[in-house]
């Protein structure tokens, strides 16, 4: 069972992602955050949480997805989570910027098939 953290300012999207993850029966949502700053604080305090995957929204009011990635890349973990940026638009410049951070990029909504393909990329 893989451990997932979801960060999205939209409560409906958080619930939606959580349901898709739970229904896959291959992963579970450990934590959900509506405020990326809170998520960052949590990761700082839990470097040994063994998170496999982070679903991160790109457009958020207090801290954008890329701003989050900048700060996140400074942290060190016992297990480095794979970041997957979830966004409503498929902007090529944002896709290539995500790649620079070694992050995956996918347009919303999160689907069962995409979740399965991304979970396959996460090492055991």
């Amino acid at each position: 069972m893989k451990n997932v953290v979801c960060v999205d300012d939209c409560v409906i999207d958080l619930k939606l992602n959580s349901k898709v993850v739970t229904r896959s029966k291959k992963a579970k949502v450990v934590e959900s955050f509506m405020d990326p700053r809170e998520a960052l604080k949590w990761f700082k305090v839990h470097p040994d949480a063994k998170i496999d995957l982070v679903f991160l929204d790109l457009n958020m009011p207090h801290m954008g997805g890329f701003e989050f990635l900048e700060a996140f890349s400074q942290l060190s973990f016992s297990r480095q989570p794979l970041i997957c940026l979830l966004t409503s638009s498929n902007n090529p410049s944002e896709v290539s910027r995500a790649r620079e951070f070694g992050a995956e990029f996918v347009t919303k909504p999160l689907s069962k098939s995409y979740l399965e393909s991304i979970l396959a990329k996460v090492r055991d």
Binding site: D9, C10, V11, I12, D13, K15, L16, K19, V20, R23, M34, D35, N59, M60, P61, H62, T87, S88, S89, N91, T107, K108, P109, L110, S111
Partner: protein
């Protein structure tokens, strides 16, 4: 050589009137410079008239035109003159500005050095053509082009943001529908009510956004129907509506000096106030009783409508970023809104030659200032 050209050249040599006609008809001034006694330069009367001067007051001295030419252009002219003297193939040809009263006259100034047998320049013959009209048009066109480029850039950013924000709730709806289909196939109705509620929320968000986009389009494409109206009457009417809509205490609002009359489009002005006042309610602080103060202020610098509250407020950085369309400072789930409210306020102000600025208010709250004298926001 064509016989007519030959005949004309002969005529110019013989008949003074022909030279005068060419000078008057084709040129806006002629000058002839003695490079051996460089303080001496003959300048035609028409040259001075073109520059708005009385020729009888002007002496045939280089200093006369050098006093009038724009310093930057004098530097260019001297550089070109030196190059032309060194090399006849280097053209003496430039656009220069001469002071003409309080304005500038643009002149295309061309010249040719007359050289002695050794090739040393001893005289310089030059011609002026007044190009002020063309230059003015060129400058105006350049300004308009820059403005258009800026507007295009703004539109491009706006279109991208609008597309993203419109797609966002639609994509969430598709995700929910996908889960609902899965539930239906398994005859599982556990989440049905919650999913319908989510769909309704997302549909309403889409509706709010499309309405706001339509409003912006209408403001941009409709000329304001300006009529005189009292600021206090607008504020009172809009506050009644907003307070009722949000079921809010009407006493929260304080009016100061709102007897001022303004020549504005009443519908647009009321929409502007509605956006500002409803923001005061939406962004109120949970631990403080909301107080809103609407005041008219004027001094020698500007005339301003100031709306301040004791709500959540904004940082200076957020105030600066508030000019960006769709910029949200709160989660869509926390506070409803399209992210276009302030954009609508700014568009309406712009249509009235006014501007809007936001200021953090100490110790807490926000002040929205609508300046009616084109003061920069």
């Amino acid at each position: 050589m064509h016989y007519l050209e030959q005949e004309l050249r002969q005529l110019v040599k013989q008949d003074e009137q022909i030279f005068r006609f060419v000078e008057e008809g084709c040129l806006d001034g002629i000058w002839y410079w003695d490079l051996e006694k460089p303080e001496n330069e003959w300048m035609s009367p028409k040259m001075w008239e073109t520059l708005g001067c009385d020729p009888s007051t002007k002496r045939h001295l280089v200093s006369e035109w050098q006093d009038l030419i724009h310093p930057d252009d004098l530097a260019t002219a001297i550089e070109n003159f030196n190059s032309h003297c060194r090399d006849p193939n280097a053209k003496y040809d430039q656009y220069v500005r001469y002071r003409n009263g309080s304005d500038w006259t643009w002149v295309r100034c061309r010249g040719i050095a007359i050289r002695n047998k050794e090739g040393k320049p001893i005289r310089m013959l030059g011609a002026h053509v007044d190009v002020t009209e063309i230059k003015t048009l060129q400058l105006e066109t350049a300004v308009q082009r820059r403005e258009l480029e800026e507007r295009n850039q703004e539109l491009s950013v706006f279109a991208h943001a609008a597309s993203h924000d419109l797609q966002s709730p639609v994509k969430s709806m598709l995700g929910i529908i996908s889960l609902m289909k899965e539930d239906a196939s398994e005859n599982d109705h556990t989440d049905l009510e919650e999913n319908i509620q989510h769909l309704e929320t997302l549909a309403l968000r889409t509706q709010r956004l499309t309405n706001a986009l339509l409003t912006i389009g209408r403001i941009q494409n409709t000329a304001p129907m300006k009529k005189l109206g009292r600021v206090g009457s607008f504020t009172e009417k809009v506050w009644q509506e907003v307070a009722e809509e949000y079921e809010f205490d009407k006493q929260s609002l304080e009016f100061v000096g709102l007897n001022q009359e303004l020549n504005v489009d009443h519908d647009m002005f009321e929409l502007m106030l509605r956006n500002i006042l409803s923001n005061c309610i939406k962004y109120r602080h949970p631990d403080r009783n909301l107080k809103i103060r609407v005041a008219w202020a004027e001094d020698q610098v500007s005339r301003r409508l100031e709306i301040e509250d004791n709500g959540c407020g904004m940082t200076l950085e957020q105030c600066k970023e508030s000019t960006i369309f769709f910029k949200r400072f709160h989660s869509a789930s926390d506070i409803e809104g399209s992210g276009l409210g302030l954009g609508i306020v700014r568009q309406i102000a712009k249509r009235h030659g006014a501007s809007v600025r936001l200021e953090p208010k100490l110790p807490f709250g926000l002040k929205v200032v609508v300046c009616f004298d084109g003061e920069e926001s």
